[in-house]
């Protein structure tokens, strides 16, 4: 990369910078929360059978099972248990907390780990190596001009916000 090219790029970018608004902390945190939600997801894509279930009746795979030794009488459908349970995880947590408070026992939340005391390390959001620079617009990091360009063209919040 030649110097002249660099300065040329820099100057155009400076002009851009003036126009660009700085994404506020709330949006940055929203982005981070979204990222963590993605990391917690079981699947990223849609259920490939979703439309199918609507249109055609698929045999319940229960019926596919060959061996049935238990008495049919006692059998309950899987949905029966799901209907009976009907609890959200947060609800379970709250019930656990209340019970723990009353009986003065430890609860699920007492087991949560502490915050780290180690200094944060910073990585380029594009290539993953150590990064010294912060994107002025959105606060993500990059390491080189090359990565900055990629960042600006892709995940920079100026597009998302």
């Amino acid at each position: 990369m030649t110097i002249s090219k660099l300065t040329l790029r820099g100057s155009t970018r400076l002009k851009e910078n003036e126009k660009r608004r700085i994404v506020d902390e709330t949006s940055r945190k929203r982005r981070h929360r979204k990222m963590l939600e993605t990391l917690e997801a079981d699947n990223y894509h849609e259920d490939p059978h979703a439309d199918l279930v609507m249109s055609k009746k698929i045999p319940k795979f229960d019926e596919n099972l060959e061996t049935r030794t238990r008495s049919k009488r006692k059998e309950k459908s899987a949905d029966y248990y799901q209907m009976k349970f009907r609890k959200h995880f947060l609800q379970l947590l709250e019930e656990d907390r209340v019970e723990a408070e009353v009986t003065r026992r430890y609860s699920y939340m007492d087991m949560a780990s502490e915050d780290t005391t180690m200094p944060y390390r910073h990585f380029c959001a594009v290539c993953g190596f150590f990064s010294p620079y912060v994107c002025l617009t959105c606060g993500m990091r990059y390491c080189t001009i090359r990565c900055m360009d990629t960042h600006m063209d892709t995940r920079c919040l100026k597009w998302a916000a």
Binding site: L36, P48, T69, F129
Partner: protein, 597 residues
């Protein structure tokens, strides 16, 4: 995993360790290694206690280690359990059927595999998934009729979950009797009975699919006060790898199954993060980390594999896709040690173990350090045990012995514990029979199977405050260092400004005494770790050091503008803290892996 690859990684790690020694030549950890060079080899790897042939052999018991990702099932008479996915899967190619458990082996095209998992954050909440999987298992893998059953449940397994479990097993499956226990307990049982052969304090670290737990046992009992859970497990690592590959190379967001295999085949835990980063950033043959991975096309290649060096690319079938894995190979498992790398504020595994030890009674601490057991799928990362050992060694006092034990198979170790427990005559008194359940209901099983109900907070709080709790505080008091803008610069000045808030802000941790006694040598070890100016201080500090200086010179121009953000950061820290008295809010807060909201 192919053996050739394992050897490859083994040799690689040896090389890394040597490099490590050179870099940290004058570190305390090295001195210690010299004095007790065989320390890490001291870890017991074979069973010291030979199983007595005349031992009590009860009726065969079914053992079910019901993990969030895989289920381990088998009879106590079996040598090893059957491991099968605890989920229902759907594929694009076969739209007429579901695949339950190991039925997926019958499926040819696994692209775009869609998971229906029964668990959320490690707890069974989707019964319309869990029940069919159990149906399948008990009908096809391991018949359940008329057998007692030992099954696992996560710590603090919630009452409604246990009620449904009771109903399914006692009322529908009509089992004879049942005992439920945490997998950590079973691992502890196996470790104490069949590895060390006596009752010693120990810490069971279970790093699984949904989370990682660090649970200390003193006198054979869980020490609840110091038990911790890091909301980070294998699922998050796979998803993270999926995300960065999709961003950097190839869209694979829909290929969780394939990328999980990529993770298992290529990722390793680095003994020296900074050095590996340097190697990974070099070009050509100097980069010994970069690997090419041939993705399966489910036509000619059913399972992906690492392309061996020298293998001609032409030989690979045309049209197949290749991933280049470079720093991803070690930055992904590194999250277990530094969740903060992706902005999760929690401690990493080693930091968590150290804090756990410091929360335990003084007399038991050296014993705990001697008996650390690693179980769960993540323990299978090459270099995992070595890293836990090396990092612990550098944190803990020199004169302590540190032993980290990784069983031959960390995934089935808890199941093996169940097998051992089944041959203990006492198991009879632990099982709850169908009659007892019918007579006394689910409240009775809940009471019996939930040992946390008997964990008394008051008991611990009224303990005479040891001066050594300061050791914990010396680490924790600097806890506010971590509360930073996720992507912003690590700013010490900001912290100093915030200092006044901190006393009021620190939550449950500050309940401990605030004295300033430095009697425990571990404090010094920790202090050393914290001290910014010490060149001998371990890894992270070393990294932060040159980087920060480089940063300030490079970004001087930007800094002025960034200072605006600093103001934001400061305000936000305050906000987070002031909201803490609201307990439910902090629940929500912690749900998202202790991260920013």
């Amino acid at each position: 995993m192919s053996t050739s690859k394992d050897e490859d990684v083994g040799a690689f790690i040896e090389k890394r360790l040597k490099l490590d020694q050179r870099v940290y030549g004058n570190r305390r950890i090295e001195k210690t290694r010299h004095r007790r060079p065989s320390n890490i080899e001291n870890v017991p790897t074979t069973l010291k206690v030979n199983k007595n042939k005349d031992k009590y052999v009860g009726p065969p018991i079914l053992i079910l280690d019901n993990g969030a990702y895989t289920t381990k099932i088998g009879m106590s008479t079996d040598d090893a359990p059957t491991i099968l996915p605890n989920c229902i899967m759907k594929v694009k190619s076969e739209r007429k059927r579901f695949f339950v458990g190991n039925q997926i082996e019958e499926c040819r095209d696994l692209s775009g595999l869609y998971y229906l998992l029964p668990c959320e954050k490690g707890y069974t909440v989707r019964w319309n998934v869990q029940k069919p999987v159990w149906d399948y298992i008990f009908n096809n893998i391991c018949p359940i009729e008329d057998k007692p059953i030992i099954m696992t449940q996560p710590m603090f397994n919630f009452k409604p979950i246990q009620e449904i479990t009771d109903e399914i097993f006692f009322e529908e499956y009509e089992i004879k009797s049942m005992f439920r226990i945490n997998p950590n307990d079973l691992a502890k049982y196996e470790y104490l009975n069949n590895v060390v052969g006596r009752n010693v304090p120990c810490i069971v670290v279970d790093s699984g699919f949904s989370f990682t737990t660090v649970v200390p046992y003193i006198g054979g009992k869980k020490y609840y006060k110091a038990a911790r859970r890091i909301n980070l497990g294998g699922k998050m690592l796979t998803n993270y790898l999926k995300d960065i590959i999709s961003y950097r190379q190839l869209h694979v967001m829909d290929e969780t199954y394939v990328i999980n295999q990529v993770k298992e085949d290529t990722c390793y835990v680095t003994p020296n993060f900074k050095e590996d980063m340097r190697i990974a950033s070099s070009y050509g043959s100097a980069n010994t980390i970069i690997k090419s991975y041939v993705l399966p096309d489910f036509n000619n290649i059913r399972r992906g594999y690492v392309q061996q060096l020298g293998e001609n690319t032409d030989e690979i079938a045309e049209g197949c896709q290749i991933l280049r894995l470079n720093n991803e190979r070690f930055t992904v498992p590194e999250l277990l040690f530094h969740p903060s790398d992706i902005g999760i504020e929690s401690v990493g595994i080693v930091e968590c173990i150290v804090k756990c030890i410091q929360l335990c009674p003084l007399k038991d601490r050296p014993g705990l350090a001697k008996n650390i057991v690693l179980i769960g799928g993540n323990a299978n990362f090459p270099g995992f045990r070595e890293r836990v050992y090396a990092d612990l060694r550098s944190y803990l006092p020199d004169h302590w012995t540190v032993n980290v034990y990784k069983p031959e198979n960390p995934i089935t170790f808890a199941w093996q514990g169940g097998k051992s427990l089944a041959s203990n005559p006492k198991i009879k008194s632990l099982l709850i029979t169908k009659e007892q359940y019918e007579e006394r209901g689910s409240a009775y099983t809940y009471e019996r199977f939930s040992d946390w109900l008997r964990s008394d907070r008051q008991l611990h709080q009224e303990e005479p405050k040891s001066t050594n709790t300061v050791a914990t505080n010396s680490v924790l008091q600097s806890g506010h260092f971590s509360r930073f803008d996720l992507f912003g610069k690590h700013e010490l000045e900001t912290e100093e400004l915030c200092d006044t808030d901190d006393n009021s802000a620190s939550d449950k941790l500050s309940k401990e005494s605030n004295g300033d006694v430095k009697s425990d040598s571990s404090i010094d070890a920790v202090k050393e770790k914290d001290s910014e100016n010490n060149d001998n201080s371990p890894e992270t500090t070393l990294e932060a050091q040159p980087e920060d200086t480089g940063e300030s010179s490079n970004t001087n121009k930007i800094n002025d503008k960034v200072s605006k953000h600093k103001a934001f950061i400061k305000i936000d820290n305050k906000d987070v803290r002031s909201s803490e008295p609201n307990v439910f809010a902090s629940y929500d807060f912690n749900l998202l892996c202790n991260s920013f909201i």
